[in-house]
Amino acid sequence: MTGFAKDFPILAQKVYGKRLVYLDNAATTQKPNSVIDTISDFYKTDYSNIHRGVHYLSERSSERYEKTREKVSDFIGARNSSEVTFTAGTTDAINQVARSLEPSLRGNEVLVTGVEHHSNIVPWQMAEAKLKAIPMDEDCNLLLDSVDITDKTKLVAISHVSNVLGSVNDIKEITEIAKDHDVPVLVDAAQSIQHLPLDVKDIDCDFLVASGHKMYASTGAGVLYTNDRFSDLMPAKGGGGMVDKVSLEKTTYQEPPLRYEAGTPHIAGIISMGASIDYMQKIGLEKIEKHENDVYSYARDRLLEMDNVTVYGNTTRMCGSISFNLDQVHHYDVGLMMDKMGVAVRTGHHCAQPLMESLTIEGTVRASFALYNTKEDVDRLIEGIEKVEMMYT
């Protein structure tokens, strides 16, 4: 194993007798030893419920939990850790915002892009908002001159990076446009937090959501950044831990962020986000970005030079995912055969059916990268594709 892969025990295994090449990182990333150890050690030494007990373990748990909040807060450039709420993940975070904003969204519009995954579509529709997409050209570049914000637009909710194409949206410019119209902005950073440095102050968004499991931490843990301009939002969930005083007549809530964290959270999972941030920072975010960029560009170039392969999307900045199809082979067949060659890719519509519709395809093969992937992994991908093509001719 080369590079960072040595930190990830799962990558040492063979599947079907071949070294595993894991290229399904947009779905979820593998975990480094330091994250696995953190979860295990936490259960062995500190585990207890948080913010409730006066006893030793509860103090330690609470302390580690809040320490993680500070780490996440620093990592995304929040002004204050009270702007960071822990959620179960990106989908949960978006649903909470949708629920909290529902009275203003109902019957009005949410502006999205045409590359959104279902998690940034369905919750808004459930809040009875109508979705409008920023138009894009055939390479999937957003046409920001055509952004149409009206009196009915109550929120702009956009992905930073497409989970299908890997295209990076200019969230800063979109936020500027939205601010000119006094419309709040939610940035879905599910596919960017693990690849690109984020600074919510610089982006100037109102909400930012992300998942721990896509950034080398546990599943069931996510982040909802809420700008303190929105500190008095109605909590989406009620219950224990988020209240100040409760009587049968009336309940008052805690200050943020605790008011948004009803019930017992996935404490170990959330703490593991702190460990994954430590891991990434120890390597250095610039180094990660450079390495990933090298591997990504190499993969893209190699795929583009293949005669019978169509690569989707082509924007000025791209990272994470590449979607493609072989001209004569169904994506599902490609996925099955690649699997048997030890290469894990994703196939299908990737929970982005509107995008598939605009590309007029049923699905794609998606290779998505993480910091442990290498050019050698890309070579295995290309070899696999060549073998699949051979089987079909």
């Binding site: 169904h330 067949d333 099955l336 055969m337 048997k340 699905g363 089987m391 079909y392």
Partner: protein
């Protein structure tokens, strides 16, 4: 219960590496006549698959004939094997059939739960069609 056609298929797959199995499936798929466009309707399609599958059936001399198609060749190849087993049998026989060749060829274990939902849905549909026929003939 053993079945000559299923045993024959198991023999064909015996000792093959995975890519050789897929190669065989692709070849089987190519032998299957494509379904006429007019029958590739939503009513005839089965969901639960990453690939699309269409199925129709008719009766000939008291026996059931199935016609299947898929946009993915590996799925279509498995369908082709399935048709070899179930076609031209009496509905009662199809309703009761144990499709053990899927397990024995490794094709079933290859299809993980999410993927095999499609396969399971197709088998379910075939059995339902057969069961319906049995019900109708009892009624007559």
């Amino acid at each position: 219960m053993t079945d000559a056609i299923q045993d024959e298929i198991i023999g064909e797959f015996d000792g093959l590496e995975w890519l050789e199995k897929y190669d065989l499936l692709i070849r089987s798929a190519r032998e299957l006549e494509p379904m006429d466009e007019e029958f590739r309707t939503d009513d005839n399609s089965i969901s639960g698959c990453q690939s699309r599958v269409w199925i129709r059936s008719y009766k000939k001399d008291g026996k059931l004939i199935f016609d299947l198609d898929s946009d993915a060749m590996i799925t279509k190849g498995i369908m082709a094997l399935l048709l070899r087993v179930v076609n031209n049998r009496h509905p009662q026989e199809i309703a009761n059939i144990d499709l053990y060749f899927l397990e024995k060829t490794g094709l079933k274990s290859n299809l993980s739960p999410a993927r095999s939902d499609g396969l399971r849905a197709i088998i379910k549909r075939i059995k339902e069609i057969a069961q319906n026929e049995v019900g109708q003939s009892n009624f007559q």
